[in-house]
Symmetry: C2
Subunit: 355 residues, 2 copies
Amino acid sequence: MSTQTLDLGRTSAAETRESVANFLEKFLTEKKEKAVLPQAERLPQILAEFLTGGKLIRPLLTVTGWVAAGGARDSEQVVQVAASLEMFHAFALIHDDIMDHSELRRGRPTAHRQLSADQQGSGARHFGVGAAILLGDLAFTWSDEILHRADLTPVQFASVFPVISEMRSEVMLGQYLDLRGTGNPTDDVESTLTVSRYKTAKYTVERPLHIGAALAGAGLGTMDVFTAYAIPLGEAFQLRDDLLGVYGDARTTGKSHLDDLRVGKNTTLVALALRAADPGQAALLHELIGNPSLDEAGAEQVRKIFAETGAKDTVEEMIENRYRESVEALDGAPFAAEAIHALQDLARNATRRTS
Amino acid sequence: MSTQTLDLGRTSAAETRESVANFLEKFLTEKKEKAVLPQAERLPQILAEFLTGGKLIRPLLTVTGWVAAGGARDSEQVVQVAASLEMFHAFALIHDDIMDHSELRRGRPTAHRQLSADQQGSGARHFGVGAAILLGDLAFTWSDEILHRADLTPVQFASVFPVISEMRSEVMLGQYLDLRGTGNPTDDVESTLTVSRYKTAKYTVERPLHIGAALAGAGLGTMDVFTAYAIPLGEAFQLRDDLLGVYGDARTTGKSHLDDLRVGKNTTLVALALRAADPGQAALLHELIGNPSLDEAGAEQVRKIFAETGAKDTVEEMIENRYRESVEALDGAPFAAEAIHALQDLARNATRRTS
């Protein structure tokens, strides 16, 4: 992402990232220093590490929504609200990684794996999971604390809070449906797209824009434009994620490209392949996807079927169509040119990324 | 608990319980009917069931703190804040039960066990745990939503929120320390009491009183009286819980009296027994406590050592001393006589309960 085209006045993307990261670092340093329970300092420590290396896409979108809706530049308020969303995202990822049995996140062992290493003996794994549940809970608590420290006016708070609350429920319910489908892949493409809509499109793109815009006092018209832009873009973002989950390079994604297959994630890619598969291919997919000890050779077989059934190409096409739909939604939007450019850039980068 | 002595004007304990329970039932019915994702209706359904049968001790203390600090009777606000704490407690229990491998809660299978039954095959257990993590997360989200719907004035909110946030962190950090000690019991009595202070005394007694009082605009003097009352009472409450965890009748506690021993919970009772044990007794305790397949006969052996080492009697004595200290803290407190009576009753019931 070039700084130039994302230059939202003085609040460029790079500056937004830096402001949010600095705020979170300071917040967690304070939590370590003025600890309620100093014996538990390991938790803010792991969280601080966890928070470095994220893409900070939700904070960027929050600031973009704010600027597009006419919010003043250099606002400490919007930075804090954006930081609160990033902290919430840490919560969501830490819990997701437990549910998905993930080993790697942002190039490091996942939180439950790091915490397992703190305990010895047969209970270590269980301890790691329990402590990571608590670490996630703490991140949720602290994200709420950051939100309340942002000194919003009562009117701002009343506009923003219902959207944040809706966002929290949506991502949890989306993740629940995702989990329910995991390990039992089907050819039901529609239901994989419903999961993407809640778990990603609304959570990652639509709600952060809405939150920034609500903070700036935007009306329903602005919200609708953001929805029209965000839903296809968010679906495309998830479809790209599904491809990276199978084809990505761990050195750039920070995640193993075996995790999704091993856990049997019911992605749109998998559903499309099952829909187009002949009986032999379908049997092989059912055997390999969801097998916790799947190796590189097995993954290669799966990838071969994704290519042969045309599923991979279809997903690329779906991404392209959604990308275009998303950018078209900006036509005639009553936003400053700089905000339009930022949103166009974000759409391009989110759908064409390699990490 | 008699209705008479707990009669806080028209807001008696029974009425408080009923108001809170009704509010939560209505809230969850609305969540089911206007579901964000109707396919996920199972989650509010389980939560509604989970919320029936609780002792509602935190809501009662919230209302008591409010009335003691001069809050007006029949306030819908305080009922909603109390309901928000009870919903938060559901979150905490659902996650705790996962960490503690508990099988029973309030006489029913724990949430993760109920959710496991929704899935077939080898992944069922893992699904149950993941879905219960999400159910807990959702309860947290909804507890926050209830708090914000309570229509507090900005001044009330600014007084109450920091206490709520502190309470959330305290219980999570206390639970983390508890988890870290579990499976590896020691004779460190002090550290078991630190865990009780954070996980129970502050969370169950002190903070609910503070929250009710803050809502009514109480000053620091009132807060200090509540702290002096709450900390010994809360420790006594936890010590009683530790005894019930080993000696309680599942028909009245709703929990198995093998769970704590099987998971190897490092309670004050266990620490005292280890401190006083001879080498033979200590070896036996280490062998039996934390053994996941401990049976009734093994538990009997443990109970025998708790008696022989005097640990059981010491815990009873500690409860009695703390009970007295707690009630004495009320001497000369500037509260209405009815509030003092309610607090005295609560202290008696919390330390002498059988469930």
